[in-house]
Symmetry: C2
């Protein structure tokens, strides 16, 4: 590193990218992993209409909308594409995100019910119970780590009716032959972490978000994690490498 190199300014990098894409830019942002791997995402993919989702998202993304009914919580709503699609179907979802920029974009796009904060903060506000929670865009990875997953799954239990379901998507980390990713899995094993536990941050222009853990799980791993927290993996599509999972109370 040159002596001059400094850390980027901490801020809502993901939200800034969404706001720029909403304003007509591309909002192309960087996801940086703690091994130095960088990946690039075009934020316009979060603004596609449902009939174009299959250009950018797994095929099950739209199918998931048919699996939820009643009062729905959209966890990690981002630019609100699932909440908007659910509103079009006559639902009144609540779009939750920790990114102020994401929640702002949801509001401007017409999402009627939003919450800025974590699901723990939302649960503490004692909202009426939900029939379903959706964690699309691979947001099941928000479970973070096997150790912390119980806390989030418990909070979802608290937010849902006794028979409420979780419908979410996740990437199977084992469906790669990329040596960079395989090396990361191995490094995770050596430091006692789940192979698919990624430590990431989003960077956009001069901003970087906080580092966070993003847990890729195989369906089998998800089943074990769910079981430990009182949930049952009821249905799962073939990973390709993303899969759709339905969790029901055990």
């Amino acid at each position: 590193m040159p002596d001059s190199a400094v850390e980027p300014r901490l801020g809502d990098a993901f939200g800034a990218a969404l706001l720029d894409a909403f304003a007509g830019g591309r909002g192309t942002h960087v996801t940086e992993r703690d091994d130095g791997f960088v990946d690039v995402m075009d934020a316009t993919m979060y603004f596609l209409e449902p009939d174009l989702w299959s250009d950018a998202w797994p095929g099950h993304d739209e199918a998931a909308l048919d699996l939820v009914h009643g009062r729905i919580l959209d966890v990690g709503a981002g630019a609100g594409r699932h909440s908007l699609a659910l509103q079009t179907r006559g639902h009144e979802p609540v779009a939750l995100d920790v990114s102020p920029g994401a929640v702002e974009v949801c509001r401007r796009r017409g999402v009627r019910h939003t919450f800025l904060g974590s699901i723990e903060e939302f649960a503490d506000s004692d909202p009426p119970l939900f029939d379903a929670a959706v964690l699309m865009g691979n947001n099941l990875s928000l479970l973070g780590s096997p150790e912390r997953s119980g806390s989030m799954l418990g909070t979802l239990r608290r937010l849902l009716h006794p028979a409420g379901t979780i419908v979410g998507a996740c990437l199977d980390p084992y469906l790669t032959d990329d040596p960079v990713h395989l090396a990361y899995h191995q490094q995770n094993r050596e430091r006692g972490r789940s192979p698919g536990q990624l430590t990431l941050r989003v960077r956009y222009r001069g901003l970087a978000g906080d580092w966070f853990d993003w847990l890729l799980m195989s369906p089998d791993e998800l089943a074990v994690i769910a079981d430990r927290a009182g949930w049952r993996l009821d249905d799962v599509t073939d990973p390709d490498p993303s899969y759709l999972a339905v969790l029901r109370p055990a």
Copy 2:
């Protein structure tokens, strides 16, 4: 930073992006500045045919090809689009790049004469003199810093016939109102650097290139730097914000 965060692996990140784009990918790579600013580039833009250059490059990019004749050195040739276009016009340019991946891509695309290394290394090989050097794609910024610019301009003098010309492009750093860039200019002033002197590195997937200095100059700044090294800024197009410059021996 989390304890786990490490520096990316050092390597030919730019060349790896070009090789992936040549193989049909997008080669989307990240340029990281030492203040933490990140920018994203799609490497397919380096593979456009001349009639599509104006989609991605300044209008003067193709015009520059008309300004050079005889034996031509393409400095920082990248994927070789200028060398290939010059070959189509009947020239026999030498494509020079420090990136092994870039030179490999040039060769595979049919550039007949390539050199892997710096212009200093090339000059040390005592090649026959050139009539012109092209530094397109804003490659005049390879001058690096006002202090080091004399060395490169002197080497180009050594490589060129006494009446040889340099045709190059550069971004004018002052044609921005972006607060992130203006803050960087100010920080440069405070550390005694030229406002447009950027310390950058390229990152692509798991790789990062070396940090290097990339000097954005206004036409006036370029004129001063050129003059100091025995060159005269003979012609310049309006910056928009990139401009085309012709340097002739003073």
